[in-house]
């Protein structure tokens, strides 16, 4: 039982705070620069490629990919924070070893890292949504809800990143989950084109195993203004998978760090 359930206390926020402190210090490189990326995508694809596409599902192409870019920001921010950045802290800086020599335990270190990754997802996706708003591609009233949903989705992707961090032998091995999981999601989750253009089998797989598919679905429905009750199914999928990934990440990290 002790192994199944993590021993968490509020101390985990001290781990979160550590990352926040360092993040704040390198604010410009960490945050503002990467924010330029969605603008590039929106201009290049939305308005460049969009000239040829005219409309998808009854909306202009730029309007179609806006929710996709918000969703991708939720994924990338959390996943990369809890893979490369967490790995550097764990292996190269030995930060986790330093922290677990104090009353903070491994479970709290991992949870703190995941919640920090989720925070990055909330921040980045909000910034992308601000860009979407600036281009006039979504309703303003959604803005306060983006970080909330971004955090929830961030916990899922941060936990998945942490699972990878718990098992990779070296930092180069992150190429595997990125190539096998993250990039396929970037392309096949309805981000840049509707899933309905793909064969039925691919659509089924996409809904079954790709979290981003559900996130894009929810974001697009709200941003384009046609939410319906079936979105609850996607939300439930995300919550269940996110919770499982969270607990699994803690268990696997404990196995890696406590010997």
């Amino acid at each position: 039982m002790r192994k199944l359930f993590p021993a968490l206390s509020l101390r985990l926020w001290q781990v979160w705070y550590r990352n926040f402190l360092v993040f704040r210090r390198n604010f410009l490189v960490n945050f503002l620069l990467p924010m330029g990326e969605p603008i590039l995508y929106l201009v290049a694809m939305g308005y460049g490629l969009g000239v040829f596409i005219k409309q998808i599902d009854g909306v202009p192409y730029a309007r179609f990919i806006g929710p996709g870019l918000v969703s991708v920001a939720m994924m990338y921010a959390a996943f990369f924070e809890c893979t490369y950045s967490s790995f550097v802290r764990m292996i190269f800086q030995r930060t986790f070893d330093a922290i677990i020599a104090t009353p903070v335990n491994v479970d709290e270190v991992v949870a703190g890292e995941i919640f920090w990754g989720a925070t990055r997802a909330a921040l980045n996706s909000t910034m992308v949504y601000v860009v979407v708003l600036l281009f006039g591609l979504g309703p303003v009233w959604l803005l306060p809800f983006v970080p909330v949903f971004g955090f929830v989705c961030g916990v899922l992707f941060a936990s998945m990143g942490m699972i990878a961090t718990a098992v990779v032998p070296s930092i180069d091995f992150f190429n595997y989950p990125i190539f096998l999981f993250i990039t396929p999601m970037f392309l096949f989750s309805g981000t840049f084109f509707p899933l309905t253009t793909l064969p039925k089998a691919v659509q089924t797989v996409s809904y079954a195993i790709l979290p981003l598919t559900h996130i894009v679905r929810i974001n697009r429905a709200f941003i384009l203004g046609h939410p319906d009750a079936t979105l609850l199914g996607s939300l439930a999928w995300l919550l269940v998978v996110g919770t499982v990934a969270f607990f699994l990440a803690i268990a696997l990290m404990k196995r890696r760090l406590i010997k």
Binding site: R18, A98, A101, P103, I258, K259
Partner: protein
């Protein structure tokens, strides 16, 4: 000075037949010891002897395979938080936060212990004074010298005013002057009554600061006693005075003239040698002690 036992006080650490196994390998193979308040105890031995594993179990971050291990009268497996809150740890690696300044490293570490911000600031200022880093408070840690980084880690280990300070090879890789400074600080802590556990490869380091030594090899404690008694018991006069090879004598003499007598023998590593080859070792001290103790064990 070297009381091997300070009786009648409740020990801070008690280990009984302590075992740590990694698969087939017994990293720690049934060791027993106890440490009294105010004692400075050294774990001396070569790489792979089990020193660091013992330290890790003590710091509640490596579950034991067998035996008993209590710190502050509490089982390490059951009360890690209570124990770690009163423990200061100086690990082998300088695992400071490279993105933060010297003082920020201390203040952040204080948060992990739940120390209120005002107390932490006051304590951090005092500790920087103590390790002679006051004028470096605002600098990035990466810009410090090796000795300064080590002193910062020492200060960090003291941020919670620990009842027990555990140091894993505190001066490995430092130059003589930097080592001397660390030793000076540790002696100061000893005078203040802080209980200290230290692991080291160096007999000279052990002689400098420890009241009592536990010599480890292959996961076992093979000898224990004060540094002086161990040297005379296991190395004896023969080891101290016997003629050495020319190179050995010369380097010794040169070392003897160095400005800091403590720096003598800082390159002396501990080597386990086969009995017949012990005499070939140019320098007496730790090597002989370990080797002979191993022969007697």
């Amino acid at each position: 000075m070297p009381e091997a036992t300070k009786p009648t006080e409740t020990p801070l650490v008690v280990a009984e037949s302590l075992v740590k196994r990694y698969g087939e390998l017994a990293a720690v193979d049934g060791i027993s010891f106890s440490i009294a308040p105010g004692e400075v105890v050294g774990f001396l031995g070569p790489n792979g002897a089990g020193k660091t594993t013992t330290i890790r179990m003590l710091s509640c971050n490596s579950p034991r395979t067998g035996g008993r291990l209590e710190v502050f009268g509490l089982d390490v497996a059951l009360h890690p938080r209570e124990i770690k809150g009163q423990l200061g740890v100086v690990p082998q690696d300088n695992n400071y936060d490279p993105d933060l300044s010297v003082i920020e490293n201390l203040l952040l570490y204080a948060r992990y212990f739940g120390i209120p911000a005002r107390t932490a600031r006051q304590r951090a200022t005092e500790l920087l004074e103590f390790v002679h880093l006051t004028d470096k408070a605002g600098e990035q840690v990466d810009e410090l010298s090796g000795g300064m980084k080590r002193r910062l880690i020492l200060a960090r280990g003291l941020i919670n005013t620990p009842r027990l300070l555990v140091l894993d090879e505190p001066t490995t890789g430092l130059d003589p002057q930097a080592r001397r400074l660390i030793w000076e600080r540790l002696r100061e802590l000893r005078q203040r009554g802080v209980t200290i556990i230290i692991t080291t490869h160096y007999m000279d380091e052990a002689e400098q600061i420890c009241d009592r030594l536990l010599i480890m090899d292959n996961g076992k404690v093979i000898a224990t006693g004060s540094p002086q008694s161990l040297i005379s018991e296991h190395a004896g006069d023969e080891a101290r005075n016997r003629p050495r090879g020319r190179r050995g004598r010369r380097s010794r003499n040169r070392a003897g003239r160095m400005p800091f007598p403590e720096a003598r023998g800082q390159v002396r590593d501990i080597r386990i040698r086969l009995p017949g080859r012990a005499r070939a070792h140019p320098q007496a001290g730790a090597a002989d002690v370990v080797q002979r103790a191993a022969g007697n064990a």
